[in-house]
C-alpha cells in the first residue's frame, strides 16, 4: 500500500470512530450496562423487604417454571397474533400494491397508517368499550344471539393485537409487493401459470422479505406486550410483560424479575435469529429489520 493510501485509510477510520462515538456511548450506557445489571441481578436474591441483595445463585432461573402460564400465553398468543396479522394484512397489502389504482393508493396507504398515529392507549380503550357488555355483546343480544362474552378473554386480546399491529404488518409487505417487477407476473402468466399459480409461485416468494420483516416487527412487539393483555385481558390473560411489571412493581422481587427478563431476551434472540436463518434460505435475501 502506498503512503497516500495509508493516510487516506487512517483518516477515514478516524472519521468513522468520531461519528460512531455518541451512538457507541449510548449503546454502552443504555443497552450493555443495563443488560449486565439485569444479568447480575438475575443471579441475586430478593432482599427481605423487597428489591435486590447480592448473591450468586441460579435459583431464580430454576424457579422460572413458576411463571409458566405467562411464558405459555406469550409463546402461544404472540405467534398466533403474528400469524393472524399476516393472514389479515397480506390481502390488504396486496390490494393496495397491485389492485388499487395509483391515484387512490397513497390515500389508502395513509389511511392504514393514520390509526398508528392515534394514541395506542385510547385505541385500545375503544376496544374495551366495543368488546365490553355495552358494545358488541349488546348488539348481538339485540339480534337474538345472547350471552356472548368477549372482553377479558384470549379472543379479545387477539383482537386488540391485530388491531394494534396490522399496520405494521401491512406496510413492509406493501413495500415489497410494490417493488415487485410487474413483468415477472406477466412472464409467469405468459408461461402458462394461472393467476393463482402466479401468486403462489412468484408473488408470494418475492414478497417474502416484506412478510419476514412484518412478522418480525409484530412478533418482537408482541413478546414484550403489556398494555393489551392488561386492558383487554382483564388481568386474566397474563403475558410475560405483565408478569414482569408485577414482579418489579408489586412483589418487588427484582432478581426473579431479572431472570424472567433475561429468559425473555434469550427466547427472543434465539427465535428471531433462527427464524431469520430459516427464511434467508428460502428467498428472503435482503431482509432488513425495518
Amino acid at each position: 500500500m502506498t503512503d497516500a493510501a495509508t493516510i487516506q485509510e487512517t483518516r477515514q477510520r478516524r472519521w468513522a470512530y468520531a461519528l460512531l462515538a455518541p451512538s457507541a456511548f449510548w449503546y454502552l450506557a443504555l443497552l450493555i450496562l443495563p443488560l449486565i445489571v439485569v444479568m447480575v441481578y438475575s443471579v441475586g436474591e430478593r432482599a427481605p423487604t423487597g428489591g435486590y441483595q447480592a448473591a450468586f445463585t441460579f435459583d431464580n432461573y430454576l424457579n422460572l417454571g413458576a411463571r409458566w402460564t405467562a411464558f405459555k400465553n406469550t409463546l402461544t398468543l404472540a405467534p398466533a397474533g403474528t400469524l393472524i396479522c399476516l393472514l389479515a394484512g397480506y390481502p390488504l397489502a396486496y390490494f393496495l400494491a397491485v389492485k388499487a389504482s395509483p391515484k387512490t393508493r397513497l390515500l389508502l396507504l395513509i389511511l392504514v397508517i393514520v390509526p398508528f398515529w392515534t394514541s395506542f392507549l385510547i385505541r385500545t380503550y375503544a376496544w374495551m368499550f366495543i368488546l365490553g357488555g355495552r358494545g358488541l355483546p349488546q348488539l348481538l343480544d339485540f339480534i337474538g344471539i345472547e350471552g356472548v362474552r368477549f372482553i377479558n378473554t384470549p379472543f379479545s386480546v387477539l383482537v386488540g393485537i391485530v388491531y394494534a399491529y396490522l399496520p405494521l404488518m401491512v406496510f413492509p409487505i406493501f413495500v415489497s409487493l410494490e417493488k415487485l417487477d410487474k413483468r415477472l407476473l406477466e412472464a409467469s402468466e405468459d408461461l402458462g401459470a394461472s393467476p393463482f399459480a402466479t401468486f403462489r409461485q412468484v408473488t408470494l416468494p418475492l414478497s417474502a422479505p416484506g412478510v419476514i420483516t412484518g412478522c418480525m416487527l409484530v412478533f418482537i412487539l408482541l413478546m414484550g406486550e403489556y398494555l393489551i393483555p392488561q386492558m383487554l385481558g382483564g388481568g386474566k390473560v397474563f403475558f410475560i410483560g405483565n408478569a414482569l411489571v408485577d414482579l418489579f412493581l408489586q412483589s418487588l422481587n427484582w432478581p426473579f424479575g431479572s431472570a424472567c427478563a433475561m429468559a425473555l431476551v434469550v427466547i427472543m434472540v434465539v427465535t428471531v435469529t433462527l427464524y431469520l436463518k430459516a427464511t434467508r434460505a428460502t428467498g428472503g435475501r435482503d431482509v432488513s429489520l425495518v
Binding site: 413458576a66 365490553g132 372482553i151 382483564g234 397474563f238 412493581l249 408489586q250
Partner: protein, 381 residues
Amino acid sequence: MSDPRKEFIAQLRRYQMGSISRRHFLGATGLGTAMAVMAGAVPGLRPRAGFAAGEIGDKVSLTSWPNYHDPANLEKFTEMTGAAVELTVFGSNEEMYAKLQAGGTGWDVFVPTNYTIQNYVDADLIDPLDTAQIPNFDPASYSDPRMSEPGTIGGKIYALHKDWGTTGFVQNTKELPDKLTSWKEFWDIAKDKASGRVMVHDYQLTTIGNALKYFGYSFNSNDEKELAEAEKLLIEVKPHLFAISSDYQPGMRNGDAWMSVAWTGDGKQLHNDIPEIIYVLGKEGGEIWSDFYAIPKAAPNKKGAYALINFLLDPDVNTAELMVHGYPVADKRVIAKLPPEIANDPIMYPAAELLSPLEFGASDVLTNPLRAEIMARFKSA
C-alpha cells in the same frame, strides 16, 4: 447517605398498582346537585385576607392526588396571599415517597397516606409540624381520633388529617337482588350466582386482605398458614372472576361485572349514577385509610406551606374541598356544615359498627414477599 437498596425499592414501589383508583373523586358526577345547593347555602366561604401580598412569596407547591382539590379554593388562596399554587399530582404513595427521597423536588406541601408517614419519619424526610402556625388545626375537632392518629409519631405531630375512606365492595342489586353484608357472602356468591361477573383489585393489599376476611383473619395478616388458606380461596375463585383489575368502574357501569372490590369514592360515584349499584362494607371488616398534609424537610417555602395548610383546613374551605373530592372528612366542624344527605350518607359516613372492625393497612404487609408471590400465583393460575 441513604441506604441504596431502600431507595431502589422506593423507586419501584411507586408504581404499585391500585393506589391510583383510590384517588377517585366524585367530581361533577357524584355530588353535582348537592354541590349546586351548597354553593349557594354556605355564606362567607371566602376567608378574610390574612397576608399582605408577597409576604409568603409568589408560589407554593402542592403535591397531591388527581382531582383531590377544588380549583376555586386554590384560586382564592392566590387572591388572598398573592402566592400561586403549583399543583402536581401523583399516582401512588410509593412514587411520592421515591420522589421526595430522590430530592430536589421543590415541594412545599404534600399529601401522604397513613401507612407511609412512618417511612417519611424514618428516612428523616419530614419535620414535626409547628401547629402554632396552623390556627385552623384543632385536635378536639376530630370525630374519630383513629383518622388523625397516624399523623402523630413518637408524640410529635408530623402530618394533619385531610380526609379518609374505606375499602368495601360494590354490588349490582338488579342482577344480584339479595343485599350482601359480608366478605364471606361476597366470595361465596362469586363462585356461584355471580360466576364470571366479579372483579377484584390487581393489588395484593386489598385482594388478599379481603380474602383473609372470609376466614375472619386480620386484613393485615402475614401468617403463613392464614395466607395459604386465603390463596386457596383465591385460586378457587379465579375461574369465576370477570377480571383482576383495579379499573372496575367501566365493567360495573356497562353491566359486564356485577360485583367488585371497591373504594369509597368509586362506590359513591357508581351509586350516584346507577342507583342499583350499592356500596357494601363487609361486616367482618376490611381496610380503612386516611390521607394527610405534611411539609417536607427540604421545602423551599415553609412559610407558604403553613399558610396553605392552614387555609385548606379552614372549615369552610375544607367543606368546599369535600364537595369536590367526595371523600369523608373527620373534622366535626366540616361535618356540621354538610347538608344532611351527605352527612348521613351511608357510603361516606358509614355506621360506627361497620367502621370499628376496619383496619389501617400496615406498611410491612405491603412489602411482604410471600403476599406478593401469592398474588402472582393467583394471577397466573
